[in-house]
């Protein structure tokens, strides 16, 4: 297929793209419009499409415990992402450059921790955390998310390091550079798209987690997804706040993804057409 045929915007393609976009975006748009309605308007049937938007749901959220939960989510997701990258990227590099026996077995062993469902770890984590006093702490959440993200970082980053010719590093070493300099000044800049893509996936995992946060937190370290559920009260669901909370929970991920979309696309597709 030629490049020009790929770019040609026929009416059929435009309709297909519009319909696809509508299908993909409709849940988000529906949630967003709900967040600007009163509870009464939300519960009306048929739902009113024309209404006077209100910011009351967002204002109520701001003044509720949700804001603290939002900060908890930001902290736990960003700290765990940073830690996972800090340890995972050098580990992936070491694994990539290591030619010894057992490399594949080790790589597989690292991935195994990601294969098991989180429920398998939750109860042991709960009991252990209670024993050492990490229940309902940001530190506890960060450690859990880091331990789950670390294998992902190693597995995502190793192929990126594999694609960098060792001869480049050898040339730098011949020129007098030290190993650390080679890693930080030559290798790392070349895998930036990979790091960005991996960071997003790590952040997303930690940000979207509900299960660990539900079991391992109470009130002090409660994260945003659990806080949204807290609007489902025994005496009725606060739909407006649920919608506003849901919209806010989506916002950082969207902003983060848009900010690094250039790296995200190149990072996730790197190597796709090689070989």
């Amino acid at each position: 297929m030629s490049e020009s045929s790929l770019r040609k915007a026929t009416p059929g393609r435009l309709v297909a793209i519009t319909v696809t976009l509508l299908i993909l975006l409709s849940p988000f748009l529906w949630l967003l419009q709900m967040s600007f309605k009163t509870n009464d308007e939300i519960l009306q049937f048929p739902p009113p499409l024309i209404f006077t938007p209100t910011l009351q749901n967002y204002i109520s959220l701001w003044h509720s415990a949700f804001s603290a939960s939002f900060v908890n989510s930001l902290l736990s997701a960003s700290l765990s992402t940073t830690l996972a990258l800090l340890f995972g990227v050098p580990a992936a590099y070491a694994l990539s450059r290591w030619a010894g026996r057992g490399k594949h077995a080790l790589s597989f062993a690292i991935l195994v921790t990601r294969m098991a469902p989180p429920i398998a770890f939750t109860i042991p984590f709960f009991l252990f955390y209670r024993w050492i006093g990490l229940l309902d702490t940001i530190t506890g959440l960060v450690l859990v998310y880091t331990s789950f993200n670390l294998p992902l970082v190693i597995w995502m980053m190793q192929p990126f390091f594999d694609t960098i010719p060792v001869s480049l590093e050898e040339a730098a070493l011949v020129d007098g550079a030290r190993t650390r300099t080679v890693f930080t000044k030559i290798v790392l800049p070349m895998v930036t798209p990979g790091i960005a893509a991996t960071a997003i996936l790590c952040f997303l995992y930690a940000w979207n987690d509900f299960f660990f946060a539900l079991i391992l937190t109470r009130t002090n370290a409660r994260t945003a997804p659990v806080a949204v559920v807290n609007f489902m009260n025994y005496e009725g669901w606060e739909w407006g706040k649920i919608a506003a909370g849901g919209s806010l929970v989506m916002a950082p991920v969207l902003i983060f993804s848009l900010a690094v979309r250039r790296y995200l696309v190149s990072g996730l597709t790197a190597g796709a057409v090689k070989g």
Partner: protein, 450 residues
């Protein structure tokens, strides 16, 4: 005032204070003074799901803290979040909580597993519980879920839910010459005749069929289990159960489109706006048609007893209790809190100052103040509430199915089966026969011996 005179006045004040303290020490020995706040330094950790009761109670907690010297740390979460966390904490032998909400659906499980402290040990000790606290003042029907087989008490109820029938458009009914339905047959007739009149649906309900449906099954003489809690063999395919399912599915034909997925507040909203005529549910969901400012049908509404079945008149009811975990570190302090929170004084305050009606103390529900506050349009809502709440405590505890630990599994099966019937996918007999097999298999997989 000069510096010299100020200094002299301060000295005099200090001297007076010191003399008073000395005199107090001479009359009351030091330990006795300390005892005036017996729980000084204790931080009491408690948890429950969010409910108006606790929001109101929180206003008075500083008074309690001041009186006892303890600090109360009350964690409130959404119902599913609370149930999950409390279940895990208690079943793993944790001691993070000193008092907990005993969700009535979990009560039997927690009591049978020995996760809660026997509160008779507290009420039986005159030093811990004064006679005027009177445990017997709690409505018996509301206390049933918090007793073990031997009758020991593991929780005291703070909230009651009594199934009532709300009618929002009595004007339409009167125009058609229809009376308030008192039997299942009359209910069916009223729903069918009102449905579609003036754009009003005959009835509205909500998606948790395992809450709405059992009173109909029981009304025809059936039950969810053979003889709960002793015999928990599912009884979903008995002729009575099938009849109940058929009846309820037929009833929902006069409900708005999409009712099978309605939440409670969607259903309430349909009533408040007069879009549906009948809603049969707990009093807290039904009475807003008379009491809420949002109600557009205040003048044409009535709240009455739900209709009786041909065999039984078993309106559903429930209650939520406060209990003390077996491993709680501060059990006496926790009991002090429960005693205070459920005392006649606080209960009366909640009724008088906040109009909070779903309490479970008989002396309060039958008081003049309560009756005055809860009589609307000549209807004594308190009397209705009490009558229904009492019912499972009289004779057969027909709500025992709901607190059996096997119910969540069987309830899920029942929900799916009913949806098949209501949507016309399967006849009731086939759906319930299949549900019976599925329920037995699911219970066996979960380790229940049948």
């Amino acid at each position: 005032m000069t510096n010299a005179s100020r200094a002299s006045s301060i000295t005099r004040r200090k001297l007076l204070k010191a003399s008073a303290a000395g005199a107090a020490l001479a009359v009351f020995p030091a330990p006795l003074i300390a005892q005036t706040k017996p729980f000084a330094g204790v931080t009491l950790h408690g948890a429950s799901f969010q409910h108006r009761f606790f929001t109101l109670l929180a206003k008075y907690i500083p008074e309690f803290e001041d009186k006892t010297g303890m600090k109360v740390d009350l964690q409130l979460s959404a119902l599913p979040v609370y149930n999950q966390q409390a279940n895990l904490e208690l079943s793993s032998g944790g001691s993070a909580y000193d008092f907990v909400n005993v969700t009535f659906t979990l009560a039997t499980r927690w009591i049978a597993a020995g996760l809660l402290a026997n509160l008779d040990e507290f009420t039986g000790d005159a030093n811990l519980t004064p006679a005027e606290w009177n445990p017997k003042d709690f409505v018996d029907g509301a206390q049933v879920p918090y007793r073990d087989a031997k009758g020991a008490t593991y929780g005291y109820s703070w909230e009651g839910g009594a199934m009532l029938m709300g009618l929002s458009r009595m004007d339409l009914m009167e125009k058609k010459g229809l009376k308030i339905p008192k039997t299942f047959a009359e209910l069916q007739q009223v729903c069918a005749e009102i449905n579609g009149t003036d754009g009003v649906s005959g009835l509205v309900s909500w998606f948790l069929h395992n809450w709405n449906l059992p009173p109909y099954i029981q009304g025809f003489g059936g039950n969810i289990f053979k003889n709960p809690p002793g015999d928990v063999m599912p009884a979903l395919n008995t002729p009575e159960a099938i009849q109940g399912v058929e009846f309820y599915a037929k009833l929902l034909k006069s409900a708005p489109t999409g009712v099978l997925t309605y939440t409670e507040d969607q259903a309430r909203q349909a009533m408040l706006t007069g879009r549906a005529n009948i809603f049969i549910h707990s009093s807290a969901w039904v009475t807003p048609i008379l009491l809420s400012d949002e109600s557009k049908v205040k003048e044409t509404s009535r709240v009455v007893r739900s209709p009786a079945g041909p065999v039984h008149d078993y309106p559903a009811s429930n209650s939520q209790g406060l209990g003390i975990p077996k491993n709680a570190k501060n059990q006496k302090a926790a009991w002090e809190f429960i005693k205070w929170a459920l005392s006649p004084e606080i209960s009366m305050k909640l009724v008088r100052e906040h109009g909070h009606s779903s309490i479970c103390r008989r002396s309060i529900i039958t008081s003049d103040d309560y009756r005055k506050l809860n009589t609307v349009n000549g209807q004594d809502l308190g009397a209705l509430y009490l009558e229904v709440l009492e019912q499972p405590g009289k004779g057969e505890n027909y709500m025992a199915y709901r607190t059996s630990k096997e119910f969540p599994i069987v309830g899920d099966v029942l929900n799916k089966a009913f949806e098949q019937v209501a949507t016309g996918q399967l006849p009731a007999k086939d759906a319930m026969n299949a549900a019976q097999d599925q329920a037995i298999a699911a219970l066996r997989r979960a380790g229940t011996k049948l």
